[in-house]
């Protein structure tokens, strides 16, 4: 497997997702002779995983079973070790579309953080594009590089451990798109402009606070960016279940009483509590002039 190419069978060194049900899952690195403990019992990698097709049902030692899934950037986002706040798929989706990413795109990103967005970008720009990602925290930069290697996507990504506000992205006039998720994005707009291709490109800045957005928009205008738009996207998820409303006893039928339907039905109910905010997304185009 690699994060940018499906394969049929599980093999040594793969990162597989063990799915326990009801959204509960975790990643494992497949290794001859290794074992993984789950609540349903042990998974023996050599016997249960290697050589099996992805999507298989694996019966664990206690008789319970799990599914083994091919990794995708979206599953990784749900399972990765959090080294920072991460971006989730709802924001990632709109970022990818609004930055017009596709195979062949050259993208600059800062910070790398936990690599949630990085994996999604690499997936989209491969096999002909590239991601230049900048992370100022050394430990995090190293960990991200390791993960990219493990996920077999390292040829499409260059990790740099530097401060983007001071030192920029380390590349000049090559990028189709720049993404910023840093505390002071307005300090990096100049570097972003420099990283973008001469003939233009797209920029996105993610900020949780409106004051950051205000300063970033001002900096974007000062640097001649156009089509500056800010938006917010929220996921609204529905639980599908059977609802049961009792019919009230009004003391016997009244004539004419309308015929009442069955008070049991399938419904999609919104979750009681949901994510109310992740961040504001500001998009802009590099102007030609």
């Amino acid at each position: 497997m690699s994060f940018v190419k499906y394969e049929e069978l599980i093999k040594e060194g793969d990162t597989a997702i063990i799915f326990l049900g009801h959204g509960s899952m975790f990643p494992v690195q497949v290794q001859h002779g290794a074992q993984t403990q789950t609540k349903y019992g042990v998974i023996r990698h050599s016997a249960h995983l290697i050589g099996q097709p992805y999507g298989s049902r694996v019966t664990c030692s206690k008789g319970g079973w799990v599914y083994v899934l091919h990794p995708t950037p979206e599953l990784w986002t749900l399972n990765l070790p959090h080294r920072t706040q991460i971006l989730y798929s709802t924001d990632i989706s709109i970022i990818t579309m609004m930055l017009e990413l596709k195979p062949g795109s050259i993208v600059c990103e800062s910070g790398t953080g936990s690599g949630s967005l990085s994996h999604a970008i690499i997936r989209t720009v491969a096999p002909t594009g590239h991601l230049h990602t900048v992370e100022f925290h050394q430990q995090r930069a190293q960990k991200a590089e390791e993960e990219f290697r493990e996920h077999r996507v390292d040829r499409w990504v260059t990790v740099r451990n530097q401060d983007v506000c001071k030192n920029g992205f380390g590349v000049s006039h090559v990028a189709d798109a720049v993404f910023l998720d840093i505390p002071s994005p307005w300090e990096a707009i100049g570097h972003a402009k420099d990283a973008l291709k001469v003939e233009g490109g797209r920029l996105c800045s993610f900020s949780p606070c409106i004051e950051q957005v205000q300063r970033t928009c001002q900096a974007l205008a000062e640097h001649g960016f156009i089509e500056v738009t800010t938006l917010e996207i929220l996921l609204r998820e529905y639980n599908v279940r059977t609802a049961n409303l009792p019919l009230p006893d009004l003391g016997g039928a009244l004539d004419p009483l309308p015929v009442l339907g069955e008070a049991q039905f399938k419904i999609g109910v919104p979750l009681k509590e949901t994510v109310g905010h992740t961040g504001y997304l500001t998009f802009a185009s590099k102007s030609l002039f």
């Binding site: 049929e8 049900g21 074992q35 993984t36 319970g64 579309m97 291709k197 938006l231």
Partner: protein, 502 residues
């Protein structure tokens, strides 16, 4: 697995051999390019052709002058419908923009503008540019300086829209075309909002090298978005109802020819025969149902044709109707940008010959598509149609490999609730999620930042999930009760000694 999928596919690209290297001059507009015109927040897709009159936002002009300019260049419409490149707009001078604090002194008597309609017409006739007219309107407004800064900006924007005809030429993309369709012809894309499409592409893990099944009745917009994300690598089988797939929006992307080599189409009406092994390529829909095929096929396109005579009710795309007053079925099969040649050849006999040739080709392609589907190892399924999603999902999922994502769009929530329930009963799917997204745009201006006053009330609903091995369909499967839980709760057996992975 890549190897398996490549077998017997003449056009099925692999990672290596199909890469389209970006051309050096790719950022310049060329004759024949598919471009999008932009004015404020309004888009229109059009093919660049010399001496072709284009109507956009009640203005007409020629696109000849955009050829050779960079994408992103802004033009102003000058006399005779010629476009003149334009530098960035100068800001209204700060002197003029001295603002009032509030509106307590403003009494609206309809007499605040000293310029009359005749004055304005005279300015226009003198060839004064829109920008200058707006400046003059401001200077002749008695209340402008008393208006709050917010009201001033509103005034300027309104007047600019009226008197300035500024058009930017941009490169088509999923971003632009999906925003364009949602804003102007949402009915043609089943009211799918652009962020919903964005979710589909991500949830579906669409990327280079995939073998995708796409069933859409969104004018070909979803197909185009999938093609853009795959960049010509991998293969796509488009399922279609009626006589042929609709790809009006796909054309607007202006994809290179090579992208269409690995794009197949397969009629929905043969899905069951394929599933039960009785498929035959003999009766192609275009042969058997010729009379209805044109309408079925090109419902969207004919629609465009019917409205095009009314000059004021312009269409958002001016690509197909301008080239093909009489749309032919075959055009739909592979819509490479080769209209011009046909136009030159343009007589009926050639058309008939070509029609037969294309039909042969179509038959061949359908057999190839059937073979691709029969491998039952697609990397994903995207459904976004006006049909009830449940029967589509239940049958098309049969062609998908396990451990692959699928995404189903519907304008309404209720059918997806049903679809969710039926898929649970079917088994072989996990991580089912029914969702929609909420999207709001912001105005960010110094001291005047707030969400936009209007927003979309709904952009449609998505049901997504992941395929897995479906033991339920095998005779040796467990009991239904067990399957319903998605995974068993088995804690009876003794715990074996084990060693956690680091």
């Amino acid at each position: 697995m890549e190897g398996t999928k490549g077998e017997g596919q003449p056009g099925g690209g692999t990672m290596a051999n199909n890469a389209e290297q970006p051309r050096q001059q790719d950022h310049l507009v060329r004759d024949g390019d598919f471009v999008v015109l932009k004015r404020e927040d309004v888009f229109k897709a059009v093919q660049v052709q010399r001496r072709k009159k284009v109507t956009f936002e009640k203005q007409w002009f020629f696109l000849d002058n955009v050829i050779g300019h960079s994408y992103g260049t802004t033009f102003e419409v000058s006399s005779g419908g010629n476009l003149q490149p334009k530098k960035m707009m100068e800001e209204i001078t700060s002197e003029t923009k001295e603002a009032g604090i509030d509106n307590r002194n403003i009494v609206d008597d309809g007499k605040s503008q000293k310029l009359t309609q005749d004055d304005i017409k005279a300015l226009k006739d003198k060839g004064i540019k829109g920008e200058e007219i707006v400046q003059q309107l401001i200077e002749n407004s008695t209340t402008f300086r008393d208006k709050t800064e917010f009201a001033q900006d509103k005034y300027i924007k309104k007047k600019k829209k009226k008197y300035e005809a500024v058009i930017t030429v941009v490169k088509p993309s999923t971003r632009i075309l999906s925003i364009m369709y949602y804003a102007r012809e949402p009915g043609k894309i089943n009211y799918m909002r652009y962020d919903t499409l964005a979710q589909m592409l991500t949830l579906g893990n669409i990327h280079a090298g995939n073998k995708m099944i796409v069933m859409e009745t969104c004018a070909g917009l979803v197909l185009g978005a999938v093609m853009e994300r795959m960049g010509g690598f991998g293969s796509i089988i488009q399922m279609y109802p009626g006589g042929g797939p609709v790809r009006a929006a796909t054309t607007c992307f202006g994809f290179p020819k090579s992208f269409f080599n690995s794009l197949y189409e397969f009629p929905l009406g043969k899905v069951n025969s394929l599933l039960n092994g009785t498929f035959s390529s003999k009766a192609l829909p275009s042969e058997s149902k010729d009379s209805i095929s044109v309408e079925e096929n090109n419902g969207v396109l004919l629609d465009d044709l019917q409205t095009s005579p009314k000059e004021m009710e312009e269409n958002i795309i001016e690509v197909i109707e301008n080239n093909h007053p009489q749309q032919e079925t075959m055009e739909v099969i592979s819509q490479e940008p080769e209209y011009k040649d046909q136009k030159e050849r343009g007589n009926k006999k050639d058309y008939i010959q070509e029609f037969q040739k294309k039909q042969e080709q179509q038959k061949k392609r359908q057999i190839e598509a059937a073979a691709l589907l029969n491998e039952r190892n697609a990397d994903g399924l995207i459904i976004a149609s006006r049909y009830h999603p449940t029967p589509l999902a239940l049958s098309l999922l049969e062609f998908v490999a396990s451990s692959r994502p699928f995404v189903i769009y519907c304008h309404y929530k209720e059918p997806l609730v049903e679809c969710y329930t039926k898929l649970r009963e079917r088994g072989g799917v996990i991580n089912l999620r029914l969702s929609e997204t909420w999207l709001r745009n912001y105005q960010v201006l110094p001291d005047r930042s707030h969400p936009k006053l209007m927003m979309s009330g709904g952009g449609g609903y998505l049901l997504s999930g992941i395929t897995v091995a479906n033991d339920k369909q095998k005779p040796e499967s467990c009991t239904v009760e067990l399957e319903k839980n998605e995974e068993p709760i088995a804690k009876k057996q003794k715990v074996e000694e084990s060693e956690d992975l680091p």
